[in-house]
């Protein structure tokens, strides 16, 4: 646990949520856990921003929500990618790749 937690750059939270949900339907807590896990604990999502983001994505029709039962048999709200969300994920992943490549190139040649 030596790695410092990084703050998320603006707009990346949505991308992370969409990417996480591409693996399958999840509830909010699991999403935050999964992001933390996948980023080797580097990225930690504040709950204060996670839920507003989920509701915003739901409103935009990128993810769908339904109530289901969790592993420990509790009522939980599950989110999954919609068709639009899947497209959006591709577009944003692509854009992110280009952005990071470009930034890396600039930093490398500086």
């Amino acid at each position: 646990m030596t790695a410092k937690h990084l703050d998320l750059p603006q707009g990346t939270l949505d991308l992370l949520i969409l990417r996480t949900l591409a693996l399958g339907p999840q509830h909010g807590w699991a999403i935050s856990e999964r992001v933390q896990q996948l980023s080797s604990d580097v990225l930690r999502i504040q709950q204060g921003s996670l839920y507003p983001a989920l509701h915003r994505l739901e409103r935009r029709g990128l993810i769908k929500a339904r109530w289901g039962t969790s592993e420990n048999n509790r009522r939980a709200k599950y989110y999954e990618l919609s068709k639009n969300g899947r497209q959006q994920l591709e577009v944003e992943t692509d854009a992110w790749g280009k952005l990071t490549a470009a930034v890396a190139q600039v930093l490398g040649t500086a």
Partner: protein, 918 residues
């Protein structure tokens, strides 16, 4: 986008469910996190504590979630609305007054606007009205055969029309229609078959391409074809959808059946489309459309073949891209060529007029706007008046809202002090105004619908088939709502803004005690404005009432007591001019046989009737003055029957038979027009200018009984025996249409309620085809001539009353507001020994001051305004003192009442109670 809206709406309407879901979701997250920490080895309490710390403010997260769901804006709007309704409900007096004022002010405007829209702006219900062009801009009627002085032709002969149609390729179609159809030449119509009765119906003769030009399709059967419009072809007619519905219950067997029109057989070949009321707005639209050439067969009208006699209006559809100015010049040139050989331009006086002959092209989409002509100035006046009423209503609403806004200053301050954002307060007050405006606007729609129906009933009483409907159009709906919204927003925001600007602490500190805080200058000014405007409307109402009174009380030199007027049409019943002599004799005998009938007058026209014919006159042996006189053909009892007195010489007698030399009786105006003062006209001869100027000898002079219109009370008139013909008239007798009488006047010894039925039976007894075209008492006939004046006068009174009511309500509102605000001050005054009467006087002084100021401003303005309506007034050129006095007194009394109620309330303040409230 759609997803977004559904999502927001879901948030809005299923608020509690969404809220519960949000709770559950966050709760689940917290529990999961606690579980995780417990599994990692923490105690449950420690785990909960850390989770809470990490999670931050739960309410904040929830608020953020709500925000990102997008429910705040809509939700607060709904919240504001609910709150506004609750607030309005808590002040029912204010709400009802405001809604009522808005409803009356806007409703009156919407009603007038609906009428204006329907009468002046609406197009005919035809295909593509924009490409229709009317040839002509004047409204000459009905058959004309003289050269026009101004050369502006709008009426054309069959010959001219046919040349235009043939030689002007710029027109896709060019249609012609009879100018003077309607009441003056109705058709006596009877459907073939036993037991069917003859009745009078309205018909219009039109060119065969009439319906084609308008782009109409038949509702049933067919419309006119070119083969129908040929002399000698079997006569066919198209029935209007309205007549088919109202008179024949949409019986499909009507199509193809035979009708007897003026005793000639006519086949109905089709039904016109629903809603089509002809080429012009008329109080009685045509029941039948017939091919124009057939007017020769049906009405024995010979003018259809005469190139010098003009009887048609012309409307055409121009091809796209045609230049109107060039077309107008081309048509004018053709017209001069066509008119050149006409006998109308044969005299030295008339010849130069040919050069002036021209046509003016106008938009034809609205049809022949002859009815609009009479109403435009009146409707414009009404629009101004209703605009003034709206202004008063707005001032009133503004005042009410201001009063209310100021009254709630404390409330607003408290809310600001408690942390409400200013914008939130402003938005909430705005919502309240808008809710109020929408309520008012909705009520206004009801008022406007009823108002339009009332206007139509007033304007066209007894004419049920006017094709104008009372239902407001979309434009009117938008207009009403727009006006109410603007008023509401404008005057709702101002006090809201002022209230929100106030420093809460200041407001709260002074909120409890109001000694000086009376109505603001703005409020007082609004009251003054309302009073001034109301005075103007009241003076206007008084002037129009005085004008109507003057019109009606004019000495028309006639007698209406126990007099009844029957309109008949012997030609329509199949009589030839050579047969009417015997008919009139039979009529005189049969009507005299009715018990109670004293006099039986038979004539072409009667006094105060819409119709009157004029001819140029020359006195034999004198120069032609180029002056006209009206003429009437009458029988021996006619003058007694209408109450015209002979002042010199003799009237018309039974011995003035067709074989006796032609004589005439003239009126005093005729004498003063054609003779020098002091000359004795008895024995002089007159006639049409030229060789026939010696046709009739004057044997008597009668009073100036008013024909046609009170405004024409000194119009020269000539009366000749009904059957006599001028010696110079060499036509065969059956060509002399003037011999047909149009009216029978009955004078009875007592009022006879059943005279209509008796008269109808008497006529039918003479000939079943002899229908009664119209029956009225003499008084009713005269009253009909004042319909428009009465309409205007009544509406002015109505609007004046409305303005008065609004002004009184406004004054009452502001005064009572002041009284309420000053109740503690008044209490102190009374505790210190002020008399109740002096308190009343104090309050009244304030109210009266504003009224007096309003009167002082309104009076000169009202007197100035008279000049704008002078043209519509009869013999009234300035506001006379009595009208002004009545208006001022009415307003003063209303103001007194409006002030006295709150003043008495102020005086009844109990000092102890008022002081305890401190």
């Amino acid at each position: 986008m759609f997803n977004d809206i559904v999502f927001r709406l879901r948030s809005l309407f299923r608020r509690s469910m969404v809220e519960n879901d949000l709770n559950d979701e966050l709760q689940f997250h917290i529990e999961q996190h606690v579980e995780k920490l417990v599994r990692a080895g923490l105690t449950r309490e420690e785990a909960a504590r850390q989770t809470r710390l990490q999670f931050g403010g739960l309410s904040q997260v929830k608020e953020d979630c709500r925000e990102s769901r997008g429910m705040t804006l809509l939700e607060t709007a709904a919240q504001d609305m609910r709150y506004a309704l609750r607030q309005l409900g808590k002040a029912p007096g204010f709400t009802i007054t405001a809604v009522l004022i808005l409803a009356l002010g806007i409703g009156a405007n919407a009603a007038i606007f609906t009428l204006v829209n329907a009468m002046l702006l609406k197009n005919l219900p035809v295909a593509d009205p924009k490409s229709l062009v009317r040839v002509g801009d004047a409204y000459q009627c009905c058959v004309n055969d003289v050269a026009l002085d101004d050369g502006d032709y709008a009426l054309f002969s069959t010959d001219t029309y046919e040349h235009f149609k043939k030689d002007v390729p710029e027109f896709e179609e060019l249609a012609a229609m009879q100018a003077g159809f309607g009441f003056f030449n109705p058709l006596t119509t009877r459907r073939d078959g036993d037991g069917n009765l003859a009745h009078s119906s309205v018909s219009e003769f039109v060119s065969s391409n009439y319906f084609r030009t308008f782009g109409l399709r038949p509702h049933a059967g067919r419309l006119l074809s070119d083969a129908d419009d040929v002399k000698g072809a079997p006569v066919v007619a198209i029935m209007s959808y309205e007549a088919w519905t109202n008179n024949y219950n949409r019986d499909s067997s009507v199509i193809g059946s035979t009708f007897w029109m003026n005793t000639k057989p006519v086949t109905i070949v089709g039904i016109a489309p629903p809603g089509f009321y002809g080429d012009r707005l008329a109080t009685a639209p045509p029941d039948f459309y017939l091919p124009m050439k057939q007017i020769a067969t049906i009405e024995s009208a010979d003018y259809v073949d005469d190139p010098g006699r003009m009887w048609l209006y012309v409307i055409g559809r121009v091809k796209p891209g045609v230049d109107r100015a060039a077309l107008q010049a081309k048509l004018s040139g053709q017209l001069r060529q066509l008119l050149a050989p006409s006998k109308n331009f044969s005299t030295v006086h008339d010849k130069p007029l040919l050069e002036k002959a021209h046509v003016v092209l106008t938009d034809g989409g609205g049809g022949i706007q002859i009815m609009q002509l009479g109403y435009t100035s009146k409707l414009t006046l009404l629009m101004w008046i209703s605009g003034l009423v709206l202004l008063i209503a707005c001032a009133n609403i503004a005042n009410l809202l201001l009063v209310r806004g100021m009254g709630r200053k404390t409330e607003m301050s408290v809310r600001t002090a408690l942390g409400a954002a200013r914008m939130r307060i402003v938005r909430q007050l705005l919502t309240e105004s808008i809710v109020l405006a929408v309520l008012g606007g909705t009520a206004a729609l009801g008022v406007s619908y009823l108002g339009t129906r009332m206007l139509l009933a007033l304007a066209f009483s007894g004419e049920p088939s006017v094709p104008i409907h009372a239902s407001p159009s979309w434009e009117v709906l938008g207009f009403a709502l727009g006006v109410s919204l603007v008023t509401g927003v404008l005057f709702g925001v101002a006090p809201a803004w002022i209230a929100a600007q106030a420093e809460p602490a200041d407001a709260l500190r002074t909120g409890a005690r109001n000694v000086t805080g009376g109505a603001s200058l703005l409020q007082r000014s609004l009251i003054v404005l309302q009073t001034a405007l109301s005075l103007i409307l009241l003076v206007g109402a008084g002037l129009f009432a005085a004008s109507l009174n003057k019109l009606q009380s004019t000495d028309m030199k006639l007698d209406t007591k126990n007099r009844y007027i029957l309109h008949i049409d012997p030609q329509a019943a199949g009589y030839l001019p050579s047969q009417v002599g015997a008919l009139y004799q039979t009529m005189e005998e049969r009507f005299h046989a009715i018990p109670g009938v004293m006099k039986v007058g038979i004539s072409s026209v009667t006094p105060m009737e819409a119709h009157n014919s004029n001819d140029p006159i020359q006195i034999q042996g004198r120069s032609d003055l180029h002056k006209m006189a009206g003429w009437d053909r009458v029988n021996a009892e006619y003058f007694d029957a209408v109450g015209t007195r002979v002042v010199m010489g003799r009237g018309i007698g039974v011995r003035d038979t067709p074989s006796a030399p032609m004589i005439a009786v003239v009126n005093q105006a005729f004498v003063s027009t054609f003779f020098k003062p002091g000359e004795n006209p008895i024995g002089a001869h007159f006639g049409s200018p030229g060789p026939s100027s010696g046709d009739a000898m004057i044997v008597g002079i009668v009073e100036d009984t008013v024909y046609t219109d009170v405004r024409m009370k000194n119009h020269p008139m000539t009366f000749v025996p009904i059957l006599q013909r001028a010696a110079s008239d060499k036509r065969p007798i059956d060509k002399v249409g003037a011999l047909y009488a149009g009216t029978i006047v009955l004078e009875t010894s007592r009022p006879m309620d059943d005279i209509q039925a008796v008269a109808r039976k008497t006529l039918a007894g003479i000939n079943p085809n002899l229908t009664m075209v119209k029956f009225q008492t003499f008084d009713e006939q005269i009253a009909d001539r004042f319909t428009q004046e009465r309409l205007i006068s009544r509406l002015m009174t109505l609007f004046g009353g409305l303005a008065l009511l609004l002004a009184a309500v406004g004054l009452y509102g502001v005064t009572s507001y002041n009284v309420a605000r000053r109740s503690s001050e008044i209490g102190i005054r009374m505790a210190l020994g002020a008399e109740r009467s002096s308190v009343i006087a104090m309050v009244m002084r304030g109210a009266m001051l504003q009224t007096l100021l309003g009167l002082a401003i309104g009076l000169p303005v009202a007197m100035l305004c008279v000049r704008f309506v002078k043209a519509q007034l009869y013999e009234i050129t300035n506001a006379d003192a009595s009208v002004l006095m009545v208006a001022i007194l009415t307003l003063a009394v209303a103001a007194c009442i409006a002030g006295l109620i709150p003043a008495r309330r102020a005086a009844s303040v109990e000092p102890q109670v008022a002081l305890r409230n401190e």
